[in-house]
Assembly symmetry: C2
Homo-oligomer: 645 residues x 2
């Protein structure tokens, strides 16, 4: 039975909680006890008798699997059972006989699980620091696996840098083990992680890395629970926060271990709580209090805000950025963006301030020429008129728009609102318009997720011809930002295209299953108007990121890109996480992938270079990593990804 | 005029020696002076006036190139002129104006050089430790370049580890600069190196790395020369050895700088040695003594041995390994291998020793049953009979061969030699032959470059059925070896196929332009006969290589593979460089590439794993690097490369 109902979690895997069990060859009884009596949603159960060793089995003997495939229906196998591979398996042992037995058994058990159509199998944790032979064997299996997932069990352990010299043999960071394993398996999409949550947790920064990885399940041992005042199990604040993170990232919880709390028995529950009791008396599952506590944490969470729920389907989904200059936007796109009221509130605030600065109270009757360049269907015209009304200033507006389809809507809006005397509609590309007079204020919103990536600089260079020398551009400047990410899912989605072009393209993404490894840093800034003579929109920036040392080593799959725009003086608009305009949804972040993910060892700086290049018909970015190791230069000459002029 | 005639160097670029010159807008005179008077083969000349800066040039001004394209014929431009780009170019300067001027000039000069069809341009060395913007610009140019080569000039410098802390800012290893640059440019095939040779040289191990890179030229400044007893320029022993290495690797020498030795003038050469002297008197080029010395070093070299000359065309050429089990070899192939007399001498020695051990002198009249499995056209039958004659032992020989075409030759050989009474020819695959009696000695030569890679183990498993329990197998065992390499050319050739399959295939190669970074280590050993019950031909080996610390960081593009076989007791046969059988040419080394080259920093160990995997119809290798960073596992399930059973 799911942990609860909660807005935004209707389709999340994290509503389901499992329980790890011992080997039992009566699988139906095991299911009945844990699901019906215990209210768990699935079991993590061994599929093979743990005493089995291939080298001890007589030839042609029947393999000691738990039950036959017939004891459950295919849908029961797939919904309610996660296979657990024999924990003695050790493919990197020094003992060759054990290694060979391990390989045989691993292949037999996975073949059996595949036959049963279980959704996933949990692979035992690598036993030592080396896992190459284990990974080689799993990788071979992955090449021919149907739909089943393999979850590599990894204890959530990292010794503290401060307490331990990194060169000491007792330094452990289980993330590094995972990282080697998945590199050896080439980030295979069916390989994910089951994290073992222990009673002590590593630093917050180090935990953060896992949210950029493909964690499928978190296994919490009863030992990791504390005891509350009434004798019931509970978790530390840090554990609670981590579990909430898991819920938010669709990571399923699995309870494991023996009951470690003696719960006061409710008076109505006097019958013997015996596993083998087949009588009528209500049984109680010994791990039920732990499940109840996890359910309590789930139910205590805030539901997702409406906007977040609306965007659920976009999470970690790669979209190609708009090309509004080359292409004409569709009505649906205008519709969506016009609903972003916060954006227009900020514009109205900026225009109001500019009007007050430009026209003193004693000259309030003077008319200000304001041009909206890229007027679309008119929202910035409306914001301008509202600013005029708010400030008591008089406007003459030119609404310049290159999309003839949007101009149709603009005309009917002006007519409908009775703005004919104030607003002149110009159906023309601003770069080529021959304006009849010059503007006091130039209002535009040509910004992409990365600021200049929809060619705002090139458009406004064209438009500033008809801005007065002392005129105001709103926005007056904008800056792009980048931030290194662990983003295994995004990387895998890019990789699935199996070509260079997709690895050298930037994507608009509602980022969710990612780890932001450092604060972002500014990249390119553009200021408007700019009347300098040797003006160029080419840019080059070298950036140096320091991943916090308590994070440990980390994998960089690419970079998140953001922008922040100064509309006018202190009125900002942007999506850079630390200063983002709240409740605004017009822009998701942008994602610049790396063709080969870069592993940054703890303490090493990450040096990144970004270029904005301009040709006669297109603008493009190139990017590379220079340190710790040099990558290829991505998107040379804009061969894969560019924005048309 | 080339440095000299020498067997094996007829087609080598290293016969030609160039001279670096100052800017001169009279290119014909420059050529005449340096080629006719100076006897150099080509000039390295600036193509643009060094005082030029694009930002200072008036608009629409003519670029101050050296001469027009018409002053030389196209073939003169391409044979005798290497362009030298302006040395002030600095694309990674902090000064943005200089950066932008540098980019403009770089593109103008390369466009001009391309217009002239010169073979190559020398790019000035990166000015600092960072070269990302320089590499980005060069990489852009490389995408659209026709046939011209770009030679990045790199000073041959590496500060000593012992003298300097690696973290100190004054630590310099110019190889690392090159490595970053070429990684940023993705190992582009038209980007190579012009090494500046200074008066002091780094350690031998560190120098060795460059022989695995694409070095096109070595520029020796006159400052780097010493003075001999007669006042003439000469080089230190270490420099001499290096230059000989350059000759052997087709690296052209360029003399640079001002004359630094005052040479005693021959009495017949009294006329003024003046550059501008147009009179009849014989001119003398001021750098001629340096050229003469380089010519002396060239002429002093030993000519290439005949076998090496024969193999010149195979140098660094990737061949697919033979599949003699699946395919039948052609007559030409037998012909080539049968000429390798050293191999048969070793077999004869081994068989003689085995015969003497097996048959004491007092039983010399006893007949020994010897089976040659994989007899081909009969060379091992002949070696066996010669051993019998040499030792005075009596043989009964079965010659087993699966290739019906070779059996034809075998029959006529036996008839021709009159061996009918001794030799029985069996036209059958040894794995399936039903032998009429058991053998005392089983002789085979089923070895590939990597020992077991032509499935000798599987074949001999089949053949040992008809070997007596105390019988002898020749070879009695064999071991494969691997060794990490820098091999930029091989890597580029593999990469040029643009697919995964070629990166997961092993190649037979006459390795030449490579750097062997460490001694080799043994991988898999097979022993014959092997009557153990749980016998398997699967193998797994984990190897740890330590690159000598004075090498510095190094790039591993893949691994050289070798074998060594114990034929009988102390009679060996093999190609592992340190113990290779001399004068044997049947086997080149094997090359296992890496999909992504691994940069190993100085002092870091390189951990490598190799597997030999066996399926029902094929045998294959998988390999990976586990440290410093995990690579993908190559050739999973033999998806790209396998040997058919």
């Amino acid at each position: 039975m799911p942990l609860g109902e909660k807005a935004g979690f209707e389709k999340s895997q994290s509503r389901y909680c499992g329980v790890e069990t011992e080997f039992n060859d009566d699988i139906p009884q095991l299911l009945n006890f844990n699901l019906s009596t215990g209210s768990f949603d699935f079991v993590v159960a061994p599929l093979m008798n743990p005493t089995y060793r291939p080298s001890l089995l007589e030839k042609d003997g029947v393999l000691p699997f738990a039950a036959s495939d017939l004891v459950l229906s295919p849908s029961q196998w797939s919904s309610h059972v996660v296979g657990k591979l024999s924990s003695w398996i050790d493919l990197d042992s020094e003992d060759e006989a054990l290694r060979i037995d391990s390989e045989t058994t691993l292949k037999q058990e996975i073949a059996w699980a595949n036959h049963l159509s279980v959704q996933a199998c949990i692979l035992p944790p690598p036993k030592g620091a080396s896992c190459a032979n284990y990974a080689r064997c799993v990788n071979q299996i992955l090449q021919g696996l149907n739909n089943m997932q393999l979850w590599l069990r990894i204890p959530l352990v990292k010794t503290d840098d401060d307490a331990m010299d990194a060169n000491s043999t007792s330094f452990i960071d289980s993330w590094e083990l995972w990282n080697s394993f998945r590199l050896l398996c080439e980030h295979h999409g069916q390989l994910s992680i089951a994290l073992d949550i222990l009673s002590s947790l590593p630093s917050v920064n180090s935990l953060g890395r896992w949210f950029g990885e493909t964690v499928a399940a978190a296994i919490i041992n009863t030992d990791s629970f504390l005891t509350n005042g009434r004798g019931y199990p509970c978790l530390s604040k840090r554990h609670q926060k981590l579990i909430t993170g898991f819920f938010n990232h669709s990571i399923q919880i699995v309870i494991s271990g023996k009951p470690a709390h003696s719960i006061p028995r409710p008076s109505s529950d006097l019958a013997a709580n015996n596993f083998d009791n087949n009588g009528e008396s209500p049984q109680r599952h010994p791990l039920r209090p732990y499940l109840d506590y996890v359910g309590f944490l789930f139910q205590r969470m805030d539901p997702l805000p409406e906007q977040e729920r609306f965007e659920l389907g976009y999470r970690d989904f790669l979209q190609s950025p708009l090309q509004p200059l080359m292409d004409n936007l569709e009505a649906q796109t205008y519709e969506t963006f016009e609903r972003d009221s916060m954006k227009y509130i900020q514009y109205q605030r900026a225009i109001s301030k500019a009007l007050l600065d430009r026209v003193p109270d004693d000259k309030a009757s003077a008319t200000t020429v304001l041009m909206v360049v890229g007027a679309g269907r008119g929202p910035l015209v409306r914001a301008s008129l509202q600013a005029a009304e708010e400030t008591g200033r008089k406007l003459k507006i030119y609404a310049v728009e290159k999309n003839p389809n949007a101009v149709v809507t603009l005309h009917s809006l002006v007519k409908l609102e009775g703005w004919e005397d104030i607003v002149t509609i110009i159906s023309c590309d601003m770069r080529f318009w021959d304006a009849p007079e010059k503007a006091d204020i130039l209002v535009s919103e040509l910004l992409g997720s990365f600021g200049d990536n929809e060619l705002s600089p090139e458009c406004l260079d064209g438009a500033q011809r008809f801005l007065k020398q002392d005129g105001i551009s709103i926005p007056s400047s904008y800056t792009s930002f980048i931030q290194p990410l662990t983003a295994a899912k995004l990387y895998n989605d890019v990789k699935s295209h199996k070509d260079l072009v997709h690895f050298e393209t930037a994507y608009v993404v509602k980022m969710h299953n990612i780890a932001r490894l450092t604060p972002s840093q500014p990249v390119f800034t553009f200021t408007h108007p700019d009347y300098s003579t040797k003006k160029s929109n080419q840019r080059y920036k070298r950036l140096q990121f320091e991943i916090p040392s308590d994070t440990g080593s980390a994998m960089v799959h690419g970079f998140a890109g953001y922008f922040d725009a100064e509309l006018y003086k202190d009125v900002h608009l942007g999506i850079e996480p630390s200063i983002a305009t709240p409740n605004m949804f017009s822009w998701f972040a942008i994602f610049f992938p790396l063709r080969t993910p870069v592993c940054v060892k703890s303490g090493s700086p990450l040096e990144v270079h970004f270029w904005r290049c301009c040709g006669s018909s297109k603008v493009w970015y190139e990017w590379c990593v220079a340190s710790p190791n040099a990558s290829a230069i991505h998107n040379s000459n804009g061969r894969s990804y560019w924005v048309g002029l």
